[in-house]
């Protein structure tokens, strides 16, 4: 016959095991839902509206189109095309930009991101999506890889490295 001490020990072991199982059950869906991405985006931008060009303040509207290549094995967002619209402000040599980006997959589903650029780094936030991207959430960071001399005066060609994570509705 089991003593009270032995009963208590077995209850403790069972509780610990249950807690571990519960923890694992909760952790696995979260780990599965969150995916990382690492992509290279190349754009050609066109400046279309110059709102202000006074010496201490330049405000320019821009439009960009481009394409994505994935840098990692999961190939998330590989071969997506890009379309963005935004506005750039330059005050005393410091640039800030705010834009919206549409990522279109080869099946025609798409999602939107919002980007805010401050001093060379762009912070990107997922806003909404359609089809397989419905309910997308997450965040990323963008850094310039290469920026060439403007091939025509009103255009600008740039490639960025964009990394981050996202989650999809279960």
């Amino acid at each position: 016959m089991a003593t009270i001490k032995e009963k208590r020990l077995s209850i403790t072991i069972l509780s610990a095991a249950a807690a571990i199982v519960l923890g694992l059950v909760m952790f696995i869906p979260v780990a599965q839902a969150q995916q990382s991405y690492d992509i290279t985006e190349c754009y050609s931008f066109t400046s279309h509206t110059t709102l202000s060009e006074v010496p201490d303040l330049t405000i320019v509207g821009f439009d960009g189109k481009g394409i994505v290549r994935s840098n990692v094995e999961n190939k998330v967002f590989d071969n997506f095309t890009l379309h963005c619209a935004g506005i750039r402000r330059i005050t005393d040599g410091k640039a800030e930009a705010h834009g919206y980006f549409k990522y279109l997959d080869p099946d025609g589903d798409f999602f939107f991101m919002e980007g805010k650029a401050v001093e060379g780094e762009v912070i990107m936030k997922f806003l909404s999506g359609t089809g397989k991207w419905k309910g997308i959430k997450g965040e990323g960071r963008i850094k310039v890889i290469t920026r060439g001399k403007r091939i025509t005066p009103d255009t600008n060609q740039v490639c960025y490295r964009h990394t981050g994570t996202f989650e999809l509705k279960k």
């Binding site: 190349c42 189109k65 890009l82 379309h83 279109l104 890889i145 091939i151 025509t152 060609q157 490639c159």
Partner: protein, 170 residues
């Protein structure tokens, strides 16, 4: 024949051989120095104008703006921007394309190229250059890595290109 004459003939033969070898080496080294390989990834986006489309045939023009990243340690064409104009015809599965390409390096020097495409492979031929590319010849082949449409009338692509350039000796 005296020993002295044999020596003279032998010496003359050796001199001729050495001269020939030296000449060949000089010619070879000049060619080896003049011809340089390139290996690039180029990404661009642009607009498409449809001239005619039917089940049998599609004829359109494309104009694109993009940027180049070099995959070779010599960094030829790295960070160069480009502007391309092309006429594209599809007949059934067969795609043919002819066009011209303007590449600009970060110093503003230019290279003009002629492009032709049959199927998935493009052939480039350099026809003109300015500044450090004056007298450029050579060319290469490229194939698409990614391609996608951006509705309603735009498209974007990345290609991998390999070939050689030759510059005249200064």
């Amino acid at each position: 024949m005296t020993f002295s004459n044999k020596m003279k003939i032998g010496l003359a033969f050796n001199l001729r051989a050495i001269t020939t070898i030296t000449f060949c080496l000089v010619v070879f080294i000049s060619f080896a120095q003049a011809e340089q390989p390139y290996d690039i990834t180029s990404c661009h986006s642009g607009t498409i104008k449809m001239l005619y489309t039917s089940k049998e045939i599609t004829v359109l023009s494309g104009e694109g703006w993009g940027i180049i990243m070099s995959n070779h340690e010599n960094k030829i064409f790295d960070n160069c921007t480009f502007h391309v104009m092309a006429l594209i015809q599809t007949m059934g599965d067969k795609i043919t394309e002819t066009g011209f390409l303007k590449i600009m390096d970060p110093d503003g020097d230019l290279v003009m190229g002629e492009i032709t495409r049959v199927g998935t492979e493009s052939i480039s031929k350099f026809i003109y250059g300015t500044g450090k590319y004056k007298g450029i010849t050579g060319g290469g082949k490229s194939h698409r890595i990614v391609y996608g449409r951006i509705p309603p009338n735009s498209a974007a692509a990345c290609s991998r290109g390999k070939g050689t350039i030759e510059l005249p000796k200064k």
